[in-house]
């Protein structure tokens, strides 16, 4: 029998790691993530989870310990947020370039200064080019489910994966979360068994100096693995859906079948925006929503497909690349350059540093897109 508990997004992540049978957890506390590893440390202490919990002195060390564990053929997990993730940056490259499928939860939190503990996506998007898969979740259930989806997909392509949840809006919000039978989960997610691991009886070099003669080939293999990951994630999502009855997809489409315009968005704001879509549809707008679940690898084909079917795209970014524009906005437009049918794309930067994103904000953005100039970089609700 599956069980349903009313839990926070943070604890959904902890239970996800527990039920994925993580074997090594190395972590350093940071708000608003701390509850994730706090509960995991309790699971380790009381024997609920047979894992080694390694206390470290920084996030950099946390990731280093996870990489070591993963290289030894062990399923490794950690969680962090914002400045902790930034401190990990060097090790993120090591994890991906070393092909260690570590899974990490990152609670999206705005970067300081000024000091902030509230949500936006700049922390995770700043790690775009490290080679990690990135999954953006919109509910606590999805946080739980995506933990095992990420482990399964990442271990198949030998790349690390980051699942992302919004600070407070998910991390500290209680919602019902269904947790399936452990037996079913074990069938879905068998033990980690990498083709190469640190083994005294079968000694190999890990991360050795590589001359220009071969470095590029190793990078090419990572790109190839990312392209494969797009297919793998879809397959794993499909299998997850068939097994557990919940399907998310890499680009989730909501009411897009007859849509003339579409909102593109990632994270928990997508959840609110779905209700906004329902309200706008009642008002006569043929509008839909495409939620970017997977950001790396980027679902280019699916973006082009939805673009070919609508007259207008509105991208809402809870992030910004200073000196240019919203990051999803940028990525989506890059996707469309080679497409035959390109509708106008409007980009809005909104909700930075946890600024509340209400239904009225979503409908307001859609209405503003009716009249604004496509060249503008639009900051929603700025009091300046």
């Amino acid at each position: 029998m599956s069980t349903v508990k009313v839990i926070t997004g943070n604890h959904a992540a902890s239970f996800g790691a527990r039920d994925s049978r993580a074997e090594v957890i190395a972590a350093y506390p940071i708000t608003p993530q701390t509850q994730i590893v706090e509960l995991l440390s309790e699971f380790c202490a009381d024997g609920t989870l047979k894992a080694k919990f390694i206390k470290v002195e920084s996030e950099h060390s946390a990731m280093a310990a996870c990489i070591g564990a993963s290289a030894a053929g062990v399923r490794a997990y950690t969680a962090t947020s914002a400045h902790g993730l930034a401190l990990m940056h060097e090790m993120l490259h090591w994890a991906a370039n070393g092909r260690h499928p570590v899974v990490m939860a990152n609670v999206n939190r705005a970067m300081g200064p000024p000091w902030s503990i509230w949500t936006d996506q700049n922390d995770s998007l700043a790690q775009r080019d490290t080679g990690w898969l990135q999954f953006y979740c919109e509910s606590n259930q999805e946080v739980y489910d995506t933990t095992m989806i990420a482990f399964k997909a990442c271990e198949q392509v030998l790349l690390p994966g980051m699942l992302v949840l919004d600070a407070f809006i998910l991390s500290h919000t209680y919602e019902p979360v269904e947790m399936p039978d452990q037996e079913l989960i074990d069938e879905f997610l068998p033990p980690f068994d990498p083709p190469y691991k640190m083994d005294l009886d079968d000694a190999r070099a890990f991360g050795a100096l590589t001359t220009p003669e071969w470095y590029m080939e190793l990078r090419y293999l990572i790109q190839e693995a990312h392209e494969k990951a797009l297919v793998t994630v879809r397959e794993v999502e499909k299998e997850f859906g068939e097994t557990f009855g919940r399907y998310y997809g890499t680009l989730e489409l909501y009411r897009c079948d007859d849509a003339e315009e579409v909102i593109l968005i990632a994270g928990s704001t997508a959840s609110t925006a779905k209700d906004a879509v329902d309200i706008m549809r009642k008002g006569g707008r043929k509008i839909g929503l495409a939620r970017i679940k997977l950001f790396r690898p980027f679902p280019n084909e699916e973006i082009r497909d939805i673009a070919s079917r609508v007259n207008k795209m509105i991208v809402i970014d809870r992030n910004v690349s200073f000196g240019n524009q919203g990051i999803f906005f940028n990525e989506i437009k890059a996707s469309l350059y080679s497409a035959k049918n390109r509708p106008p794309v409007y980009g809005f930067v909104a909700g930075l540093g946890g600024r509340d994103m209400k239904i009225d904000d979503i409908t307001g953005i859609v209405e503003q897109a009716d009249t604004c100039d496509i060249e503008e970089i639009l900051w929603w609700g700025v009091k300046l």
Binding site: V6, H172, T173, S268, S271, D275, I279
Partner: protein
């Protein structure tokens, strides 16, 4: 959808109250959501927490601006914080039912003496005395959340006392029996 906003001070248990209420409604087969407004957390500072209850999955994820019910755990907040803001008013996603909205305040005063007027009724309960009687928290800083939830169950009829007591039994970290007694007593004592 029912939307409830809690106003309290750090240490009174407003955040736990929002969770226990959600848990009780969940036990009633409802979909729920509970969350705090995280600010500068310290003992005595104003705290806001929220609960949503619905018959279908809840997708919206933002603060509650137009609550059906407001629960005030500390009477000294009235006047300092606009506890009545938006209460009883319709929003872009919900029409307010006439005569439903209510503000429940922890005070020994009669509802008509509280001085709050708007599109809502006022109910009161002396949750502080009840919490002190059951030694919940200290005499100087009593934890009033379970008592006021008992009063909420009676005043609004949105949740049964039985389910609330079950949620309290699992939701409070200590003194489960005393907390349950406090809820029961407030259920009987609330003034409408």
């Amino acid at each position: 959808m029912i939307e409830i906003r809690f106003h309290g001070r750090g240490g009174q248990g407003a955040v736990i109250a929002s969770e226990i209420l959600a848990d009780a409604a969940f036990r009633d087969g409802k979909y729920v959501q509970a969350f705090p407004m995280f600010g500068v957390e310290r003992r005595g500072a104003p705290v806001t927490a929220f609960t949503r209850i619905d018959n279908k999955p809840i997708r919206i994820k933002f603060f509650i601006y137009n609550p059906d019910y407001v629960v005030v755990l500390d009477p000294t907040l009235v006047g300092q914080v606009d506890v009545a803001a938006g209460c009883g008013m319709s929003s872009s996603y919900k029409e307010q039912e006439e005569g439903k909205a209510m503000i429940l305040i922890n005070t020994s005063m009669d509802p008509k003496d509280v001085g709050l007027k708007g599109m809502f009724s006022v109910a009161t309960v002396d949750a502080t005395s009840i919490a002190v009687k059951y030694k919940l928290g200290s005499r100087q800083a009593p934890i009033v959340n379970t008592a006021i939830l008992g009063a909420f169950a009676k005043a609004t009829g949105e949740i049964s006392l039985d389910l609330l007591l079950k949620a309290i039994g699992e939701g409070v970290p200590a003194k489960q029996e005393e907390n349950a007694q406090a809820a029961k007593e407030a259920y009987e004592m609330v003034v409408l």
